[in-house]
Symmetry: C2
Subunit: 354 residues, 2 copies
């Protein structure tokens, strides 16, 4: 493999010295970029874009041409695993993702296969290889998956839902059925992420978008436990470097100590958590990634810069911070404001690393 020219992101994840706070954005290859919309138009629908390694590579690299980002993230969808399990993912225009089949009974769970990357999601592993080749050592590549609980909610509901009431009621009422589903998902996610790592992913992130909808105890039983199972099962080293794992539970700010107990390398924070307070709680055990409110990108370069300064100041001096948004960048954002965000992090963070 080509030598990595900028490993700031990987060093920060290990809480090693860096020259500035590295930065990337969740959903940085996305609809806010006109060049993304053009490629997506070429591909046809969203899943055709995900399933075409050359085009997935193209959109992965697009934000890097505009901004001095410190990491690339594989362009894909969190729902590739349930789709590979046979549920039939599709996207309604103007709606979120939907599944043709749902999973609500023990028989439904029993019928599901455990999937992996190379065999069942070849197009994802091919995309990872293509992106690594095209990155040519410029910055590291992040692989990712949805968390078992997050995937399970979509599989039970048949798509997105406002309050995940059906999935939660199923978990609370028939925990054995839900544990059977979550175990199959955790084994699939582990195999899938390991195949992404073998194909060239240099760090992985687990997106637990809906863990924060569970009760305090439910989160530990139905979401965190399976993320720990994944962390335990992941390849620890690749290309002579440790492979960091980032856990991101949206609305998980109350549970950081328990999340750090999983052995993850870093925790993603949404914007409701004060990053300085989070560092006091778990900063001796994990790196922290985040956490500007994506809505801030709808203001002005000046206001964005003030907010970046406030978050850097809250984290304070020393290592272990990867700057990011607290959730994905949204379609209406002006790309110039995204650039102002990235540049502000670069310019204002150096003084915290002397």
């Amino acid at each position: 493999m080509t030598e990595l020219k900028n490993d700031t992101f990987l060093r920060a994840l290990q809480r090693q010295p860096v020259e500035y706070t590295p930065v990337w954005m969740m959903r940085q290859a996305g609809r806010y970029l006109p060049e993304y919309r053009a490629t997506r138009g070429k591909a046809g629908d969203f899943m055709s874009l995900c399933m075409n390694p050359e085009l997935a590579c193209e959109v992965t690299l697009q934000p890097l041409e505009r901004y001095p980002l410190d990491a690339a993230i594989l362009f894909s969808d969190i729902l590739t695993i349930p789709d590979a399990m046979g549920l039939g993912l599709y996207f309604e225009t103007g709606e979120g993702p939907r599944f043709k089949k749902t999973v609500r009974t023990q028989a439904d769970v029993d019928a599901l296969p455990v999937v992996d990357g190379e065999k069942h999601l070849t197009y994802v592993c091919d995309a990872v290889r293509t992106i690594r080749r095209e990155l040519n050592g410029r910055i590291p590549l992040i692989g990712f998956s949805g968390s078992p609980w997050t995937l399970a909610t979509y599989m039970v509901e048949g798509g997105g839902s406002k309050d995940h009431a059906r999935s939660k009621a199923l978990a609370y009422d028939q925990p054995e059925l839900m544990h059977g589903l979550l175990d199959k998902l955790a084994r699939s996610v582990t195999a899938y992420l390991n195949d992404q790592i073998r194909a060239g992913a240099q760090a992985v992130q687990i997106f637990d978008t809906w863990g924060g909808a569970l009760s305090h105890n439910g989160y530990q039983e139905f979401s965190l436990r399976y993320m720990k199972q994944i962390v335990d099962g992941l390849i620890k080293e690749s290309e002579g470097r440790p492979v960091p794992v980032i856990l991101f539970t949206k609305n998980g700010g109350q549970w950081l100590e328990k999340m750090a107990d999983t052995g993850a390398t870093a925790l993603g924070l949404d914007w409701t958590t004060d990053i300085g307070a989070a560092r006091k709680r778990v900063g001796d055990r994990v790196a922290l990634q985040g956490n500007m409110d994506p809505s801030m990108l709808k203001t002005s370069p000046k206001r964005i810069r003030e907010e970046v300064a406030a978050i850097l100041e809250s984290y304070g001096s020393g290592e272990g911070h990867i700057f990011n948004l607290g959730h994905g960048i949204t379609p209406e954002v002006d790309p110039e404001n995204a650039g102002a965000f990235i540049n502000a992090v670069k310019e204002l963070s150096a003084k915290y690393h002397r």
Copy 2:
């Protein structure tokens, strides 16, 4: 006024001794009850029901006929204030609330009147008086309002929204405009709640449904500050008793200490917070209300009973707990399960109050 026969709820709010943990449910007068659906059918649409004091009283009392609840809550909507300000509230079938006018410029803010209860929302004060008369001292009546920030999000967005991006961007980018709006709302809410108290409300709750969408600092600046302004301006005593104030910020579990600093009597908790841990943090300063996941009501009486037991055990012995759900009861719940919930609280809580 008639003497209050059951003041368990009011005593628990003051952290005084009680015989069992009092219980009520947010949105207890609601669509899960067939008798509610019948009355609503009679009224026509939702706002006609809110605006008819006799029918609002009828639905307020319905759950009390089924369950041994320890408090009644005024049947109304949180959006009565923006409607009284002239924005034109209406409900689209199958959609949430909408406004005919939005508030997005300084001129929009300047044009808004400050409203109160008796003059501008007479139908609400009349409903309070009617309900008090019909309750005849059986249990206390709770009045309520939306928080200024929560009302502002609907006014800026023109209705409900997924991520409140427009309201947050406006707050972050033009804080003076937003503070002008929030101050008018806080003054209106204060006057409105005080008129509800004068009309007979024996406790009040401020519903901050969307404060938890703000950033850590944004919450304090745009939501909590105005709830404190309201708490400071409320009538402290009525009918020879203190009037307790309950603050409920959904997704506010990280901010309980700051919420307690407002001087509120009690804090409402959603289900993501461990109530025992919350008690350790702020239980010497406030009572705590909550916090079963409403999705639990879609399981079974047995499972509901287990969850009630776990929450009671987490809070532990002694005073200051009012049992509730962590958010409103949803339309699909079987009324029998709601009854199982109420009964479980009554039966299982006595041992914590010996």
